[in-house]
Subunit: 575 residues, 2 copies
């Protein structure tokens, strides 16, 4: 049976299962969510009002046996940035959705009363149910309860208290193979789900499978693709140390934003580094290597146990550790892991929330380095929706406005992540020009600037950085459409067999004949679709700028400032 569009209207609680319009057929993941949002959401609507829509889509290869193809995308107009937004995550939902035969789930409208609901999907079936029991609960309780109601094989998409309270830092949680949490992290999509009064979505694919047009060709291509992935040295480092291998590397480069972006190196970097974390995990009987979804061959995730050897958190990323660590000057991994777990449960983006804490520390709300107070605020204030909790839960920009702070590291109101753009300039181009606010994953120039993947670029020089960011942003938009993890990009940039075999898999899946050029064009089309939405929402090239403080405050150790002119940045869109 051909894949369908599943549509849910929360105003009148109606549902429909529709044929896929021809113009959406070639899209998946981010390409599809952005295409649908651009087609159906009025760009100037209020993100939390009835005219916004929340769209979920598995990638083109999700649900197949293709390595690393288990990413699910969600899209909407973002309540954090006001731009179009796509966020993606691992877990089990992409594969379930694809096997259900759901090319995209579109949730529109808004209940007129205060009732809460859940949605469940099966092949050919959508059910909306009232939900009372889980309202006010965290994501872990939701997953546990939903598994009891259905089965432990059920896919779960949920929001915690953050999403219920429509906080702009709220993420959407995706159950992973161990019934833990992965996050559609950025842009506040959890608030959009909360505005539609949906506590969780249960996905039951039963025994359904994805159809492959040419199974033999698919299998052969997947073999080549998988070898390219596992052979790349960055894949191997990620498998050993996780993304947190970057703490020491970025600190060495002088680009580890510290103490709310007032320094480029953190004295306590060794205590929170990937190497230290690896040894601690091994010592406590955790897993240093772990996949966030079935079929992952890189396995950058991990199981982090507490000092007694009990599970504490999993999939703790470099960016989360940096944000709660260096940016808030906290050098205690156990405290960071505890906070990571709490934020997973409340359902808040670790980057946005921790950077918001950094700004709150700058404002004197709490002291830099006071992780006990951070934990108290998370559990006593944010989870309970106190005024301070709301201020922080609505992100770094909101804290800055509320406390009259000028050193607020955001672009389009989204917190800047773990790489200082003064010392690593290419990533600053990505922050500035991304269609979705500051986001390193939109065009990860760190690969080339710092890791030497796909060529070399001097992080302290402006030369070639706009082009580098542009090429990576185009490629990323395409990769984000396949259901592939972004970390295939390291192999794709260095191994000439990687990208062709990925394209071969897409062709074998659908019985089509995409070329490498088609894929590049897809990436460009997605960026332009997103950019056009933002323009129609009122954004201009003047929004493609970093905050003023990066231009007027040099950062140690290089004493570098952000020195791109607006004109230079604006050449990004020359394609």
């Amino acid at each position: 049976m051909a894949d369908k569009i599943f549509r849910v209207n929360m105003t009148d609680l109606s549902t429909s299962i529709e044929d896929v319009p021809a113009e959406w057929a070639g899209h998946g993941g981010r390409g599809l969510t952005s295409t649908i949002v651009a087609a159906e959401v009025p760009p100037t609507c209020h993100p939390l009002g009835p005219n916004n829509k929340l769209v979920f889509a598995p990638g083109l290869l999700s649900g197949t046996t293709a390595s690393n193809s288990g990413r699910i995308s969600a899209g909407a107009k973002s309540p954090l940035t006001g731009t179009i937004k796509e966020a993606n995550a691992g877990g089990t939902s992409a594969q379930k959705l694809a096997r259900i035969g759901c090319k995209a789930l579109i949730i529109e409208g808004q209940p007129q009363d205060d009732s809460w609901y859940s949605i469940s999907l099966k092949p050919g079936e959508i059910t909306i149910s009232k939900e009372e029991k889980l309202v006010g609960k965290g994501n872990f309780a939701v997953v546990e309860d939903v598994e009891k109601r259905f089965s432990d094989k059920i896919g779960v998409i949920s929001i915690g208290q953050g999403g219920e309270m429509q906080m702009a830092a709220a993420n959407i949680s995706i159950k992973d193979p161990d019934s833990h949490i992965r996050s559609l992290g950025r842009g506040g999509l959890g608030a959009v789900m909360g505005s539609k009064k949906i506590k969780f979505i249960a996905l039951d694919s039963g025994d359904a499978k994805v159809e492959i047009a040419d199974p033999e060709a698919f299998k052969a291509a997947n073999k080549t693709f998988t070898k390219a992935l596992v052979d790349h040295p960055v894949s191997q480092a990620l498998g050993t140390y996780g993304t947190n291998v970057l703490v020491n590397i970025i600190n060495e480069a002088g680009g580890l934003p510290t103490k709310n972006f007032s320094q480029g190196q953190f004295e306590g970097h060794e205590q929170i580094s990937g190497e230290t974390m690896h040894d601690l995990i091994v010592e406590r009987g955790g897993k240093p290597k772990h996949g966030c979804h079935a079929g992952c061959v890189i396995q950058c995730s991990q199981i982090y146990n507490d000092i007694k050897g009990n599970y504490k958190t999993s999939g703790i990323e470099y960016e989360s550790i940096w944000a709660m660590g260096a940016d808030c000057t906290i050098d205690n991994l156990d405290q960071i892991a505890e906070m990571d777990h709490i934020l997973d449960d409340i359902g808040l983006d670790t980057i946005e929330t921790a950077v918001a804490f950094g700004v709150a520390m700058e404002a004197g709300v709490l002291a830099f380095g006071d992780s006990n107070e951070m934990i108290r605020i998370m559990t006593e204030e944010i989870a309970k929706g106190s005024p301070l909790g709301r201020v922080i839960g609505n992100g770094a920009g909101n804290v800055g406005r509320t406390y009259g702070i000028t050193r607020v590291p955001v672009v389009k109101n989204q917190a800047i992540p773990a790489y200082d753009p003064r010392a690593i300039k290419g990533i600053g181009v990505t922050y500035a020009t991304s269609t979705q606010g500051a986001d390193h994953t939109m065009g990860y120039t760190i690969a080339t600037e710092i890791l030497g993947v796909g060529g070399k670029a001097d992080p302290l020089s402006k030369e070639g950085q706009v082009e580098l960011s542009r090429n990576l942003q185009i490629a990323t938009a395409a990769i984000d459409s396949t259901g592939m993890c972004l970390f295939i990009a390291f192999a794709a940039l260095d191994d000439s067999t990687c990208l062709p075999s990925l394209i071969d898999m897409i062709n074998a899946r659908f019985g089509i004949n995409l070329t490498a050029n088609d894929v590049t064009n897809l990436g460009m089309t997605i960026l332009k679709t997103e950019h056009a939405f933002n323009t129609a929402a009122g954004f201009t090239n003047l929004d493609d700028r970093l905050p003023e403080f990066f231009e007027i405050e040099p950062v140690t150790p290089h004493n570098a400032v952000w020195d791109f002119t607006g004109e230079e940045i604006d050449t990004f869109w020359n394609f």
Copy 2:
């Protein structure tokens, strides 16, 4: 001696007194502040950072004997709206500044440490002093103390705790002839003054006088002008009931925004009306008629006493009474007067703050109608900078973002004042297109739509409203440059002797030959200068829109929605 530019640099604490550049010579008041801000402030700078400047300017006729010429303008990039901003007020400062020979006071830079300062001006002299004693104090304590240090004749410009904490609703206070407070209310200019660490500015003009080129012609023109003012029926109504005469009128028109803009009429309107207030003031031995500055012949201000006959507040405006009254569903004038007094002391815009309370009530932070809790929050939370106090003190938009509310009545993040744009459409055009966010005083179409001054327009019809708003916005920009109170506009629209005599006074003051055409051109030039600044700051025509809820929620009693298209609104700038 020719008027000079007084300049203060707060980064290095240097001062200078400079000749007026030729291109600034013909400007005063708003025309001058906007011209200087546009010339010297980078449009994309952070409003609270060192690159913003705060400019004060008396009007062209301030300091003379011209009736109603005592308005002072302040300008900067607004921390509330991000646009260029001008606010003006009565009191004694315009006259003092003009007599000191200060055409404009420009305050730039920002101290590098946490010290606070005061500035004092005399003819030919600027002094910067460290200030410790008054930091943390409200405006009434500041005025009392500064008068003791200097004399009770001193002019005082100050900020309360709101400005110190750089709240975006913070205003700048101007001492009036009775040592009470007038406010440069909107746009958060108090936060800019706070960011420059200036607690107060003392103005000592001694015996200095403004020079008049042709005293006889001036005197004759002023006589004609004054007669036009005092003869107009609206001037007379304003003198009897104050601006609060409007409560019953606007309620009758179905345009009195009630319960956070969810209704167009307020059940308790009679209890808070101008008629009720007039009787109460008389009964308690207050003054129903009172001028906010020497030379005012309209006298729309009043002295409001408490039930024991002691002074409570003065100059309580219709918009303040509406905001704390109908919008928060409070029908008790004594409670409203108490809040007006508290906000004067803390130094917060009554419109922005009360509309923020309305949104907070919508969010469930406190109940609609709970004035005791409002007073508690003002004194215990806002004045002390608690998280909730900061949330509300940063305005209605900030409350909306922090609590995920969609019914947030703001344009360019500034609270919409006391006239519902669905039921009184012309004023909606002004809210949408004003260069400074929602502000009724920028183009007061109520005059024509509701009061029948300067012609007639059906408030429920779109016809002619864009043109009406445009003409009034152009005229207002010119009037705001003269030092005249906006309320001369009623006479100017209906009495053919009013405007020529005003122009005659300007010509007699400076020995020049302005025509009516020149004045219209001045208004247009000011609007275009302000608009160009905003465009360079990143604003587009898509910012000239009302919030979505006005389009999708009809308001009682007319069940009207906001139905202007974007294209219709954009014709405003066709001049």
